[in-house]
């Protein structure tokens, strides 16, 4: 019998498979950190975890609460500062970064700043933090999020961090370096981006999910890959490591 799991566990397990050995990943707290820790334990022992406040390759003893708390540089190779981390990204030495936000559009642009008018917003969120910098500099950015129409919108109220901006050629035209969104991992599906137009494309459907469900929960027209597949369900080993070693206190996986 296949193991049971919740949507948070599903997204973390799927994300962990995309982090290749010997690469660098800039992570935030929560699900991205869990995915990177799981990858280290199962798939990519030489994956290097970086935190924007200055932690380089820590041996994470448990989940950090903040990207600047002392766990993020526990037994690290270096306790640096933000400039060191951001210039490492700018030089092209950071492969992956995880991002999040209130809205995402079909080119993978993200809003984490506000809804409504700029000087008197309806809802104010934190803003970029380091996200715009990661989205600009890192080779491959990823997002883990629940899949709803309110989140997957035709147009973001505010583009905080760049995806492919307005599609083909527009990152280059703006002066941004090569890079951009790689995978969008949701509770319904995994999406990538069309190589030519840079528009979001469904690549695989999560177990038990039909394409129609994904379409109905997306506020823009999604491309569908010609060889659309099934996302592999979390394996027993993934779930065991995630629950017993990565997040035994269920700080992240308990949120689903």
């Amino acid at each position: 019998m296949a193991p049971e799991y919740n949507t948070m566990e599903m997204m973390i397990c799927v994300a962990s498979r995309y982090l290749e050995d010997g690469k660098t990943v800039a992570v935030g707290t929560g699900a991205p950190c869990a995915a990177a820790m799981l990858a280290q334990k199962l798939y990519s022992p030489n994956l290097i975890i970086l935190f924007e406040a200055g932690g380089v390759a820590p041996l994470l003893p448990r989940m950090p609460i903040s990207v600047g708390d002392s766990r993020t540089f526990y037994k690290a190779v270096m306790a640096a500062g933000m400039s060191e981390m951001m210039t490492t990204c700018a030089r092209g030495q950071v492969d992956y970064a995880f991002l999040g936000g209130a809205q995402i559009d079909k080119y993978g642009n993200i809003n984490s700043t506000l809804i409504g008018d700029y000087q008197k917003p309806k809802v104010r969120f934190p803003g970029s933090g380091g996200a715009n910098d990661f989205a600009s500099f890192c080779w491959r950015t990823m997002i883990m999020t629940v899949h709803t129409k309110a989140r997957f919108v035709e147009k973001c109220d505010f583009i905080t961090s760049p995806g492919f901006l307005h599609g083909e050629g527009s990152r280059e035209a703006a002066g941004l370096p090569e890079g951009g969104p790689y995978k969008i991992i949701t509770d319904l599906a995994v999406m990538g981006f069309d190589a030519q137009t840079k528009a979001m494309m469904v690549e695989s459907l999560n177990p038990g999910v039909e394409l129609q469900q994904v379409i109905e929960n997306t506020g823009f027209e999604l491309l569908v890959s010609a060889d659309i597949g099934r996302t592999e369900a979390p394996t027993e080993e993934e779930l065991r490591l995630l629950r017993e070693e990565v997040d035994p206190l269920r700080l992240v996986i308990g949120r689903a």
Binding site: S66, G81, Y118, D133
Partner: protein
């Protein structure tokens, strides 16, 4: 240098490097005893209308005694550098101390959620905002620390973060590549919490430095709060460890547990229960007013706040958490 595009929002600090040099020319370089209380430091060095920056990372190694004192002394109309700010922003927003903000990260407390009160303040329209990213603000501080009027970076381009910033797009004279040019930021005053300092202000930060090395060098006036006061001989014994030299520093305030309820690397972890109490109290403005009265306005100093939060007993628990001793 041709300007190809520009952000719409104002720059709150003067980027003129010669004015900054003139200020620093007249700043004392005497190695004298700078010890004082948090009350004296804020009275002397933080004025209404100043542009303020707070060191650390939101709820990690923050100079919280100074943040509380600024609220207690009811400082108003400050500008604020919203760089990785979380609990510090939350406390200053509670006192409505600032009316303009350079925002890279505000109102949030990372995984803990958003501060209801800071959100209300930012959504009221009372605060003028200019948008940036963390790296953009770091480059602004580095330019100031370098004594030049602007810095360049390749992020923020093409986004609304750029559009709502005070940056400009310029072209590289060598390669033709586009860059975001951002103005140097010399804050009027900054406060940084450190592990050790001597009475002259020679300061040691252990663990990550976040943006504090550049902030210490950009700020016109600098207040150091320190966990521990050490003899100058201890600094001279290991000068490699000095993060901030005395001539940058205006005040030295000894505040044990001064990052509370934030984390202080190697010493004590963050008090998540107390941080949650802030968030809970903020939901109801009346309850929150009472909360602020209890924890800030009715305290005569930061030590009284610590006592109300459980004092040494609570600190000992946080020390165990920091050292991964299961309690």
């Amino acid at each position: 240098m041709e300007v190809l595009d520009q952000g719409l929002n104002p720059i709150f600090t003067d980027p003129d490097p010669d004015k900054a040099r003139e200020f620093f020319r007249n700043k004392s370089r005497a190695m004298v005893d700078k010890r004082m209380t948090e009350r004296e430091a804020v009275e002397k060095f933080v004025h209404d209308g100043d542009y303020l920056a707070i060191g650390g990372f939101g709820a990690n190694r923050i100079p919280n005694a100074i943040v509380h004192e600024i609220v207690r002394q009811r400082k108003k109309n400050l500008g604020f550098l919203g760089h990785t700010s979380t609990h510090d922003f939350q406390v200053l927003a509670a006192g409505k101390c600032f009316n303009r903000v350079d925002a890279a990260y505000i109102v949030g407390l990372e995984a803990r959620g958003l501060s209801p009160n800071a959100r209300r303040y930012m959504e009221s329209g009372e605060v003028q905002v200019t948008e940036w990213s963390n790296y953009a603000l770091d480059v602004r501080l580095k330019a100031a620390a370098d004594g030049v009027s602007f810095g360049i970076l390749r992020s923020i381009l093409g986004t609304d973060t750029f559009k709502m910033s005070g940056a400009k797009v310029v072209e590289c004279p060598f390669t033709g590549k586009k860059y975001a040019a951002v103005p140097a930021c010399w804050p009027d005053v900054a406060a940084i919490h450190v592990h050790e300092a001597d009475m002259y202000g020679n300061a040691v930060i252990r663990g990550i430095s976040v943006a504090d090395l550049e902030l210490a060098r950009a700020a016109k006036r600098l207040i150091i709060t320190t966990e521990k006061l050490v003899h100058n001989a201890a600094i001279r014994e290991n000068p490699t460890a000095t993060s901030i030299p005395f001539y940058l520093v205006d005040a030295v305030v000894e505040v044990p547990y001064g990052s509370y309820p934030g984390n202080m690397p190697y010493l004590y972890f963050s008090d998540e229960e107390h941080l949650a109490a802030w968030m809970k109290a903020e939901k109801d403005p009346e309850v929150f007013a009472q909360f602020l009265d209890t924890y800030i306005y009715s305290c005569s100093n930061f030590q009284e706040y610590l006592e109300k939060c459980g004092g040494l007993k609570r600190i000992e628990e946080l020390q165990k958490l920091e050292n991964l001793v299961d309690v």
